[in-house]
């Protein structure tokens, strides 16, 4: 492997050996890298880190439920052209100026190799990945309006993230390099916190991480707190000047970690003591019966 093009992780992002290897394989083979994992495990941050480490430009294509595959390639602004023809503005005969390239198109015509992040591909319609098969495989597409073919000058490193809200089609998966980011263990979690907040007390971090995993391991939690929530919590604890010795016992500011009423009630039950919180006890949710 050529050393100066190999991703090695960056100071701001702790990547496991497996993940680094997956990134490098994808880059070397020119295949899209599909990243899955629990929310908050740093899927999106990975692309930032890769771009940072390899010194490449990062293009982000955020996928929404209404995004079409075509949007990533190019958009033909017909209305603008009709408008211009009505008022005689611009050169209406030149279709080219009404073609606007999308993120994928931009990545193709870039003068240097770039990192393209297709974020949350599972948000789009079920057919979306299939519509991109050819373009990602051949790294080129054809614009019928102008008769042009846009071909990648340098095949971009494509990172795709998915939250598994929809299943991706097999044909698409077959072309990807896949990596599942497992939830970090306690040791790695301490490293991650250290990277983000290097000046924190060791004792505080240790206590917070312990408390965090004890909450995460509560059976029956609907939404497990994730890394990003822990980071917020640690910061909140530090800013609030809370004594590390009481963190594990009392778990201050639980609202940063637990976002659902039911989870909060569950935690309070397990935690005993102050369970008489009138707000949650008074509201008997029907759904809690079925979700128990």
């Amino acid at each position: 492997m050529n050393n100066n093009t190999a991703y090695q992780g960056s100071d701001k992002y702790i990547a496991s050996q497996e993940l680094i290897s997956a990134v490098n394989v994808a880059a070397a083979l020119n295949r899209p890298l599909l990243i899955k994992g629990e929310p908050g495990t740093g899927k999106t941050m990975l692309a930032l880190s890769v771009a940072d480490n390899l010194n490449m430009q990062l293009l982000i294509w955020n996928i929404k439920s209404t995004t079409k595959a075509q949007d990533g390639l190019y958009v033909y602004d017909t209305v603008q052209r009709l408008y211009d023809s009505q008022f005689g503005e611009g050169d209406v005969r030149d279709i080219k100026q009404y073609i606007k390239l999308g993120k994928l198109g931009e990545a193709f015509i870039s003068d240097e190799r770039v990192v393209l992040l297709i974020d949350e591909i599972d948000k789009a319609d079920i057919e979306f990945p299939n519509d991109l098969l050819w373009e990602l495989d051949q790294m080129s597409f054809y614009i019928p309006e102008t008769g042009e073919t846009i071909t990648a000058r340098h095949r971009p490193i494509v990172a795709i993230t998915s939250n598994a809200e929809k299943e991706l089609p097999d044909a698409f998966l077959r072309r990807c390099i896949f990596h599942y980011i497992a939830f970090p263990d306690e040791e790695m979690m301490r490293q991650i916190i250290n990277v983000h907040y290097p000046n924190l007390q060791k004792e505080l971090v240790r206590a917070a991480v312990n408390a965090f995993y004890s909450i995460r391991n509560l059976p029956g939690l609907q939404k497990k707190p994730s890394t990003s929530e822990l980071l917020d919590w640690v910061q909140a604890l530090a800013v609030g000047g809370i004594d590390p010795r009481i963190i594990e016992k009392e778990i201050p500011l639980p609202g940063v970690l637990l976002k659902k009423d039911n989870d909060m009630a569950l935690w309070q039950r397990k935690h005993g003591g102050e369970a008489g919180d009138a707000r949650t006890a008074g509201k008997k949710n029907i759904t809690s019966y079925w979700r128990s």
Binding site: A22, L29, T78, L82, A164, I177, I286, R291
Partner: protein, 398 residues
């Protein structure tokens, strides 16, 4: 190369395609595995496996394929130190690289153990001792067709050991059905249409061009209505005592349906064993929180899709006799069967999901009533396959 891994994976139920296998071969040819088993393990996994649910199957296949390979004997820090002051890598002519085929791992390990015992100092460039740049089987940057690399680019953990840990056992999908799978099945229940109601907020390009042309170039925008799913869904759940064993399964279905945002309307109601003159708003089935079944039928048009969830197992009297309901306050003048038929004939699309596996329907205690109910509602088992079949049924009229 490694074809046994390919077939091993397929035996474990991972359908590795030939294209993926060729990708792996290409990667190996380019040296992306760095000639180490652990790197090969990660490389093969990222290329061949496309879901965390199959990581465990991969681990099992990998173990089977590479079981005999173990980590070399303990290398002491001292030996590693000998290797630090290395000769430049030995470049070997292609012609000289005669594969030495008559070696065995056992012998190699024995010899390495011997050398470790005998050798007392640094040694570089020779043919026997542990060192760098030579042709002895032990050391690094040298060449021996059947050698043990010590040091150099590091082998941190043995791949076989990593595979043996089977850290991804929990992700196996054949063990439990997940909410997500139910959700995916429910997503198939959609019927897109440009309904009459709703705002016109999507630009109809073809019509715009057409209209502008007709007006001789005066821009005329034409808007159309967005296509929306117009499926409306009613789910009635049995909340009786005999359903307790299936509560987990039913709650998964409940959560999945609840999370689905693509229905135009989604309502849950509850009943106890059988439908009579009232239907309940919550699973506690108390009369003070109920609606009359006639009101219910008036409220929901026949274009609602109806999913009944229940084990359909009850005393025959509950279904067939007037005043047969289990609850002491019930006053059903008509038997449950009549009410069920009334429901089934009101809704054009309806199915029954039974959490009891289909193979037991003919054998369980409630087999008589299961038979009767399935004459009224098309009955499916509450598994992923059953749900998929039921959804298919719901898309067409009876």
């Amino acid at each position: 190369m490694f074809t046994s891994l390919f077939y091993g994976l397929r035996r474990e139920g991972v359908n590795v395609a030939l294209t993926e296998w060729l990708t792996l071969m290409e990667a190996l040819q380019r040296g992306l595995a760095n000639s180490s088993l652990i790197n090969f393990y990660y490389l093969a996994r990222s290329v061949l496996i496309k879901s965390e649910t199959q990581y465990d199957a991969f681990d099992r296949a990998f173990l089977q394929c590479f079981e005999g390979i173990e980590t070399p004997p303990e290398i002491t820090a001292e030996v590693l130190k000998w290797l630090e002051n290395a000769l430049p890598p030995r470049l070997v002519d292609q012609a000289d690289k005669k594969p030495n085929l008559d070696w065995s791992l056992e012998e190699l390990k024995r010899k390495l153990a011997e050398r470790l015992k005998e050798q007392t100092e640094q040694h570089h460039g020779g043919g026997k001792w542990i060192g760098t740049g030579g042709t002895s089987p032990f050391g690094h940057s040298g060449y021996n067709p059947a050698g043990v690399r010590i040091g150099g680019q590091s082998v941190n953990r043995s791949a076989v050991k990593v595979a043996a840990e089977r850290a991804y056992r929990d992700f196996r999908s054949d063990e439990t059905l997940t909410t997500r799978q139910f959700e995916l099945a429910l997503r198939k229940l959609r019927l897109l249409s440009t309904a009459v109601e709703g705002e016109r907020n999507v630009l109809d390009l073809d019509a715009t061009v057409d209209a502008t042309g007709r007006k001789a170039g005066m821009l005329e925008l034409v808007w159309a209505r967005e296509r929306k799913n117009r499926i409306k869904l009613l789910i009635l759940m049995d909340s009786g005592g005999s359903m307790n064993p299936y509560q987990r399964l039913c709650s998964q279905l409940f959560n999945a349906a609840n999370k689905s945002t693509h229905f135009r309307d989604l309502q849950f109601y509850y009943y106890h064993n059988c439908i009579y003159e009232v239907i309940f708003n919550d699973p506690f089935c108390m009369k003070r929180n109920s609606v009359s079944t006639y009101d219910f039928l008036r409220q929901y048009d026949s274009d609602y899709r109806l999913i009944m969830v229940g084990d359909a197992s009850m005393g025959a009297g509950e279904l067939l006799m007037p005043y047969g309901a289990l609850d002491w306050w019930a006053e059903n003048e008509e038997p449950g069967q009549v009410w069920m038929q009334r429901l089934a004939s009101h809704f054009e699309h309806c199915v029954w999901l039974n959490p009891i596996p289909k193979q037991y329907w003919g054998r369980v205690e409630g087999r008589y009533t299961i038979g009767l109910v399935s004459e009224i509602f098309p009955m499916f088992e509450l598994t992923l396959d059953g749900l998929n079949a039921a959804i298919k049924k719901l898309r067409v009229k009876r």
